[in-house]
Symmetry: C2
Subunit: 404 residues, 2 copies
Amino acid sequence: MFKINENYLKLPGSYLFSTIAKKVAAYTEANPDKEIIRLGIGDVTQPLAPAIIEAMHKAVDEMGKAETFRGYAPDLGYQFLRDAIAQEDYKAKGADISADEIFVSDGAKCDSGNIQEIFSVDNKIAVCDPVYPVYVDTNVMAGRTGTYDAAKETWSDVIYMPCTAENQFAPDFPKETPNLIYLCFPNNPTGSTITKDQLQGWVDYANKVGAVIIYDAAYEAYISEENVAHTIYECPGARTCAIELKSFSKNAGFTGVRLGYTVIPKDLKCKDVSLHSLWERRHGTKYNGAPYIVQRAGEAVYSAEGREQLKKQVAYYMNNAGIIKEGLQAAGYSVSGGVNAPYIWLKTPDGMSSWEFFDYLLETANVVGTPGSGFGPSGEGYFRLTAFGSYENTLAAMERIRAM
Amino acid sequence: MFKINENYLKLPGSYLFSTIAKKVAAYTEANPDKEIIRLGIGDVTQPLAPAIIEAMHKAVDEMGKAETFRGYAPDLGYQFLRDAIAQEDYKAKGADISADEIFVSDGAKCDSGNIQEIFSVDNKIAVCDPVYPVYVDTNVMAGRTGTYDAAKETWSDVIYMPCTAENQFAPDFPKETPNLIYLCFPNNPTGSTITKDQLQGWVDYANKVGAVIIYDAAYEAYISEENVAHTIYECPGARTCAIELKSFSKNAGFTGVRLGYTVIPKDLKCKDVSLHSLWERRHGTKYNGAPYIVQRAGEAVYSAEGREQLKKQVAYYMNNAGIIKEGLQAAGYSVSGGVNAPYIWLKTPDGMSSWEFFDYLLETANVVGTPGSGFGPSGEGYFRLTAFGSYENTLAAMERIRAM
């Protein structure tokens, strides 16, 4: 008789956002007259920018003619897109990354889930707490996390780095030495970030202890402050210790378009084996490239028109972030984030648990957010709102919350 | 110090098609005046059908307007596409599969590589020999295949089922009992298939021994004979033992568009754990859906216009298959395939090895094919040509081969 991967059975409950969706569906069914405002899941609402729409139409037309039709894409992605990324996201920011160190993919969620595959099962991971659940869950599936303590909501073989108001949501170096360190700045879910100097500290630490940093820079476009790195490769030494994940979902609204990329510098090695070669092998064996049309859409993100239009889109969401942040502060909430990130992280009032506040907000204001505890035990007592709604909905949500 | 997944280092050489690409590039550089005809990799050449182009333009427009913009897709795929698949690929063929047993993905290559993840590492796999390399290589990466014997080109813990002229390229039940059985019919690379009765035999066998069949039906659209199953679920009993993988790459030319799906019936269980629930969890955790635009393109494949247009596209390639098959036979080659599949499988002449014939064909006729030995040891002495070229190139290639 065949056997299943028993690690899957260790996963507690369902994926956070599935649980939220079910709760909202149940509430909506019981209260069909209530108008729900969703500031929960980090999904964008603004349409794709005109430059991107134009590029996609053009690419669709190319696919309809024999002379310009494109079949399988190159394994690592089309050169035109990798060149644009290397130039705009790296060289223009003073970071030394070449086009052939970039792997185009269908999104940072997939990459952040798959990247652990090229590492040994007995490597120990360190994660921020709270954390984007995909990092931990995919390591659970791989059998890397030990046993689950349901009371503490922690795994025996995971190193947790608490990020709370006490340390300004910036992780301290862990007591136990990790092999893989997942970092995400600007952070999901807390909306906070660290300075470039602090990030340099992590690079130096990783090089010293022989760890790899898996750096999720999905929210880079929202950075507004000077002393925050746009890529980890701004930090000297990162080429020998860091993998960077990037998404087009939040800077260009590609949540339903699907595009991302992973950078693995060729200097990143375990003895004489380069991680670049391992990921290249995985990419070639288990993946077949992002759609041509989508890669052309990605290219348009870097065009002069595309950049101009997307700057406005980011500003639109950050205006929402400001409204939420100020609205909550005016209503007496303790709030962080929302300055370099589209997420606002608030302390739940009156000692409510995260899920209690979720229910309270849903039932009283008909606003959906995300319980902080869904991101890890140190998220308990916190709650995440996102700036990705429409301006009108964001205003309405804040009015309702103020009236609570 | 972090450690890598050592299983990757066991993989011999590079991915077959990368090796071919490098050989062709070297030849082209040395002989810039020669015009190469590529009948090697299974990539299509005909443009997307008008109905698909129209659907994609419409979807692109929707993405450009706030009212119709779509963000994250539902985990399992859009209902409109899953309904179309359930109706046209299953109900219309008398197979009992419901829409919620279908998982939409970005292609059968990814799914066929990822599906092994939900099974225990100590399951034993059986594969046809020759075989699509992805099945074996992804199990190597997972540590499921034991040690490699470089002389025999086989893995100690893989059960090989030879498919040669002696058994009409139809595998026999293996002596040792497997846990997972990879089957692909119509077959890549041999172009052969088995009858519905033979497939029923495999379903009965799998149910008897407690194995799961991973059934790759990527070439189903090319079936021309009556007694060949279009889906494994035509066979009673398949709901308790079979997972089916389908691609839009070959029936609709989506190699550069990226769309596929996997079917896991809810009756397929290991004790009380349904494989459907495990794959649902994986899908939700490590994947973020196929692009909306691409899912609309997939829907158009099932429209009346789409079906009519694609029937002609398949006929175009199968006409090429006939030209190759008859041309080779007239030239004295021993040939199979090309009747229910776009692949022609020929015996190399004069006892040449597969790679010797590759070089001979490249240098003498400037035609690129795929060495049979690249698909497994029993592929030695065989060679694959594909029908996916243009009509003109296919004719030209056959003239050159006849003149050799």
